[in-house]
């Protein structure tokens, strides 16, 4: 863009002062123009949202105010008044999950029941559960396929759904630089969507590919919104934060089964209190041969696979 100057043109000059003034003006103009996309910002945090404290430092009043604020926002965005709660962990309860890969047929109903229950973004699509179609004779996930279609189960394959394993030694919790994700006393690894900075280090750390990132503002049809919400679970997420399976905290802490357990047509999904020796999950670990995925990584999941025909 810079033309070569020949010595003869040297007289063709302007003063530096005038030039700098013109340059500064045009630079300011260009900068202002460069910033123009910011006009479209729609989800700027409010001051109180910006300044709020970490979940663990909130007083009950703070929490109430925050829940009220979120409820008002949801009502504004979706036209539905949500019942948003923050149920505490139940003392003496440690959640565990077992999945019977001998029974799972890979129909993916859990995937969609989960999306509906947990208000996951429909477009771009976010799903907590990935169902792997595995070749019989292999437990190597690299021989798996997730995009199968049509009638299931298919000959020669078995199915292994994967979601957050709620690891006892969770690499994601270690990774998070701001403690936006932590392990609750009942074993569930939760995320505070209002604290996460969106660095995605936890996603790199997770050996199960369980974490999802909101690359855009999530989109949920108004008529499909689930108004039964939990603060740490299925309330609508903002753009730019990570989310994942939380064992349907807002259901399970009130004694209910998670949505994926409720929907599974084959009864392959089992859920309960590991500390209760009579629970189905305790019975499975006691009487069945169970394994955990990628045991060699040492994450000690609370999610067990077993086979039983």
């Amino acid at each position: 863009m810079a033309e070569e100057l020949k010595p003869g043109e040297a007289a063709n000059e302007i003063s530096r002062r005038a030039f700098l003034a013109a340059l500064a003006t045009s630079a300011v103009t260009a900068t202002a123009a460069a910033l123009s996309p910011l006009k479209g910002v729609a989800d700027l945090p409010t001051l109180e949202e910006f300044l709020r404290l970490h979940y663990k430092e909130l007083t009950p009043e703070d929490k109430k105010a925050i829940l009220e604020r979120i409820a008002a926002q949801v009502e504004k965005d979706y036209g539905v008044r949500p019942n948003i709660t923050d149920p505490p962990p139940i003392p003496g309860v440690e959640f565990g999950y077992a999945l019977n890969i001998g029974r799972c047929i890979g129909c993916r109903k859990c995937v969609y029941a989960c999306a509906k229950e947990n208000n996951q973004s429909r477009n771009p699509q976010i799903q907590y559960i990935r169902v792997l179609q595995m070749r019989k004779g292999s437990i190597d996930v690299e021989s798996s396929k997730t995009d199968y279609e049509g009638e299931v189960p298919k000959d020669g394959f078995y199915y292994m759904p994967v979601q957050c394993h709620q690891c006892r030694k969770a690499p994601c919790v270690k990774a998070c630089p701001v403690q936006a994700t932590w392990q609750e006393p009942d074993g569930v690894v939760v995320i505070d969507y209002n604290w996460c900075i969106g660095c995605r280090y936890c996603m790199a750390a997770c050996p199960y590919g369980a974490r999802r990132f909101n690359f855009e503002k999530p989109e949920i049809p108004k008529d499909e919104l689930n108004p039964e919400m939990g603060y740490l679970s299925n309330r609508p997420r903002p753009k730019g934060v990570v989310e994942k399976c939380h064992f349907c905290l807002h259901r399970t802490r009130k004694g209910k089964y998670p949505a994926c357990v409720e929907v599974c047509p084959t009864g392959s999904r089992k859920f309960g209190n590991l500390l209760d020796p009579e629970s189905e999950i305790a019975n499975i670990i006691k009487t069945k041969r169970v394994y955990v995925l990628k045991e060699e990584v040492g994450t000690l999941p609370r999610f067990y696979y077993y086979f039983n025909l």
């Binding site: 810079a2 030039f19 700098l20 340059l23 630079a27 260009a30 900068t31 123009a33 460069a34 123009s36 996309p37 910011l38 910002v41 700027l44 910006f50 970490h54 663990k56 430092e57 771009p124 990935r130 792997l132 190597d140 996930v141 690299e142 021989s143 798996s144 997730t146 994967v162 690499p171 270690k174 990774a175 998070c176 630089p177 701001v178 403690q179 936006a180 604290w195 996460c196 900075i197 969106g198 660095c199 995605r200 280090y201 996603m203 790199a204 750390a205 997770c206 050996p207 199960y208 590919g209 990132f213 909101n214 690359f215 855009e216 503002k217 903002p238 753009k239 730019g240 990628k294 994450t299």
Partner: protein, 425 residues
């Protein structure tokens, strides 16, 4: 005390004034950098509004070009230590007069690193959650929290050292050891630590076998000590051509020795890693296979890594052969090495660990135009900053910028400033 601060502000102000001086080439250079920075700024504004959806990243490949550049640049910043060690530990004077440029480069590059981290954040508005004491810092558990500390600490150390030394030259005063020697020695270890911590960021993840290798930190350091001094070789040639600051050939060739040895170690460590991956040929080789040869019909990174291999090999060959005793070839070798290492450490190190995903999915990654613009913008801004810093300091170092009300100049102080900081070691 207030007077001292006032004096310092006046000094910075006068230095800053110097950045307005220059001929038309200087202005065009700065305008071009500003223009590219603005392209990046504009692209980033779009990203802020729409979200990281304007990048090529996905749930499977959750880090891309931003973190790749970050990783490379941390190395460039750490490289200043390779100039400091000979001067301050071995009392070798060859590099004495150019150490300051390494430190200024570190300052500019760390700023770029911080920018790259910022643009990668999904919620930059919550950056303060990472500030120790105010936010909720997961230190010492999270390696990323270590990175925040070491990077900012390194920025502060280098700003202190270069700021102080240049000011002393300006005042024609002998620098007081207490104000910089401790910092210089802390910075030496700190430089190693910034890149080690950055490596540990990756190494610590058991779920990513491609990164989970003890050799990553040494590899990072070796490649950093190639790229950083290599970049300085290029910069110093520009400085001596365009300013009256004296940079000796001897200094350049000493840097060549550093680059040469580092490059040999870098390539050796790379070969060690490749042997481990491909000879073992366990399930963990998938990422390396994807990187070098493609996996199941997906070849996204193959052209990248072989470009890097060719560049690395060419640079290595040039550096070990006597050719590179000629500056033209040395510059070429440095440029090739920088480009090769940028790919090897960036796209070749960060991205393949995500492919295949932990669940065996192959989702490829290639940066979008928006992502490229943001990266180019940060690079341009970094260069803008470095040029500005050089422009501010060189007039001081060459003695053109002195305190206005010049105190009677004693013979002693004359000798002090003339050798820049020669007295110090």
């Amino acid at each position: 005390m207030t007077q001292a601060i006032k004096d310092y502000v006046v000094f910075v102000g006068r230095c800053a004034r110097k950045t307005l001086d220059g001929d038309w080439r200087y202005y065009l250079w700065m305008t071009a950098l500003t223009a590219v920075s603005l392209l990046g700024l504009n692209a980033y504004c779009k990203q802020l509004v729409a979200g990281l959806t304007v990048t090529g990243m996905s749930d499977q490949v959750s880090w891309g070009l931003y973190i790749a550049n970050f990783t490379f640049l941390v190395g460039m910043a750490a490289a200043a230590v390779m100039l400091v060690v000979p001067v301050y530990v071995y009392k070798d004077e060859t590099l004495h007069d150019v150490v300051i440029f390494g430190e200024l480069l570190a300052v500019a590059v760390i700023v770029m690193c911080l920018l790259f981290v910022t643009v990668d954040l999904g919620r930059p508005d919550r950056f303060w959650h990472m500030i120790p004491g105010i936010g909720r810092f997961n230190w010492p558990i999270s390696m990323l929290s270590w990175d925040v500390i070491v990077l900012n600490g390194y920025l502060a150390l280098n700003a202190q050292i270069s700021g102080y030394l240049v000011y002393m030259v300006y005042l024609k005063r002998k620098p007081a050891s207490i104000w910089y020697i401790p910092f210089v020695f802390i910075a030496m270890f700190w430089a190693i630590s910034i890149h080690t911590v950055t490596a540990f960021l990756y190494v610590g993840l058991g779920g990513r076998p491609f990164w989970n290798s003890a050799i990553v930190a040494p590899r990072f350091l070796a490649s950093a000590f190639t790229a950083g001094p290599g970049f300085l070789i290029l910069t110093l040639q520009v400085i001596r051509r365009l300013s009256s600051y004296k940079v000796t050939d001897k200094a350049l060739f000493m840097l060549r020795d550093i680059v040469q040895v580092s490059m040999i170690i870098n390539v050796f460590l790379l070969l060690c890693e490749l042997f481990k991956e491909f000879y073992t040929d366990s399930a963990h080789v998938a990422s390396a296979k994807y990187l070098f040869f493609g996996l199941h019909g997906h070849y996204g990174l193959v052209p990248w890594i072989w470009t890097a291999m060719v560049l690395d090999s060419a640079a290595l060959a040039l550096l070990v052969l006597p050719f590179s005793r000629r500056l033209r070839y040395l510059s070429l070798a440095c440029a090739l090495a920088i480009a090769g290492i940028w790919i090897e450490k960036g796209m070749g190190m960060v991205v393949p660990a995500f492919i295949p995903s932990p669940l065996g999915e192959i989702v490829e990654y290639s940066p979008t135009l928006n992502e490229w613009l943001i990266c180019a913008g940060i690079w341009a801004f970094g260069m803008l900053l470095y040029t500005t810093l050089l422009k501010m300091t060189i007039p001081v170092l060459t003695g053109q910028l002195t305190p206005q009300k010049s105190a009677p100049m004693s013979i002693e102080s004359e000798t002090v400033w003339h050798g820049n900081f020669r007295d110090t070691a």
